[in-house]
Symmetry: C2
Subunit: 211 residues, 2 copies
């Protein structure tokens, strides 16, 4: 049917990938709002002709870039949650998901730029919401396997609500991380928040005043 398929695709694919990689670095370093098409091309070692042959606008490139990396992250998270036993061990799962979610600060920088971008473009917002929905799904899936083993605080509602809370904690910790750039502290905080939210007391004795 479609005889108009492109003949040359190998070189094109390489340059496209290189442009995306270069864009990621430049976006992380300077921020999407302060990056020009030329800068991306220069970082990738190409001329603007290559860019316009692959993308119509910087926004389009950013969109593609985010989609690619977001898929990767989603897969990593799902993988991290799938690779433990059939029964849920909350602290272990929390540890594992924390490692994956707070792995690369550059990604968080780019992701936040994308969030800002999404607040002004409904189509972009939908893509971001989709990504978040996939994340929540993976988490909810994992949590649902815990029913019968662990209790969830009632305020959060059902399993889906708990997944929502997990993502919110992730977002909250990310904000602070972007400002102080302390990945380890962020991981520790995320663990604390998640155990506080999911285990309804953290399994530790309550903190009471001493006077």
């Amino acid at each position: 049917m479609d005889d108009t398929v492109k003949r040359v695709t190998r070189r094109r694919g390489r340059t496209r990938a290189r442009l995306l990689d270069a864009a990621f670095e430049v976006f992380a370093a300077k921020g999407f709002g302060r990056v020009s098409i030329e800068e991306v091309c220069e970082a990738a070692g190409y001329s603007r002709g290559a860019f316009y042959s692959n993308f119509a606008t910087l926004d389009e490139l950013f969109f593609a870039l985010y989609g690619e990396r977001a898929d990767l992250i989603a897969a990593q998270v799902a993988d991290a949650l799938a690779h433990d036993g059939p029964d849920l061990d909350v602290p272990a799962s929390v540890d594992r998901v924390t490692e994956v979610l707070l792995l690369d600060v550059d990604w968080l920088l780019v992701k936040t730029d994308f969030l800002v971008h999404a607040t002004r473009d409904p189509a972009v917002a939908r893509a971001l919401l989709d990504h978040r929905a996939r994340l929540r799904e993976a988490i909810a899936d994992r949590l649902s396997r815990a029913r019968g083993h662990t209790e969830l605080p009632a305020v959060l509602g059902d399993v889906d609500g708990a997944a929502h809370a997990v993502v919110a904690a992730y977002d909250g910790v990310t904000t602070q991380l972007l400002l102080d750039r302390d990945v380890e502290a962020a991981r520790a905080w995320l663990k604390r928040l998640l155990t506080a939210l999911l285990t309804d007391g953290g399994g530790a004795p309550r903190h009471t005043t001493t006077h």
Copy 2:
């Protein structure tokens, strides 16, 4: 001593304020990264001469704008937390602070732009961290008055840790709010998260599996 004080300051103050107000609107609508000096001036009803007479760069205006509004918000929060009785009623405080924190979506938009801006400029980051510290302080102050009345989950550590968690929940809910623009849903979620974090069970019966 300082005889070089300006003689004319009334008109200047007005135009400066108008420029800041106009910038707030334009930033909220289009995003800091996509706004030019000319646009701000046009929105304010001034020419570029007025701008360069008051600010050296758009960054400088943004910095001043944020500082002004952040002070306002901090005062509102402190006020909201101070105006109830000497004893802490957690749900009531949560309600009140939720109202104040999620009042104006435009402010959240601008604040997020400022966050992105801060991730690339250490001086800006310091200003934002300062604002956050003030917020946490007000919250910790309020929480410390609750000691002896309410217990806090141990995972969060001391009162300061709890304040940290409150801010994280706020940030997390904000992210979702920016995407779906549903203020009421965001308020509900923030309340749920805060009660889950602060009251260690939410005062409601636990959610247990039914099979």
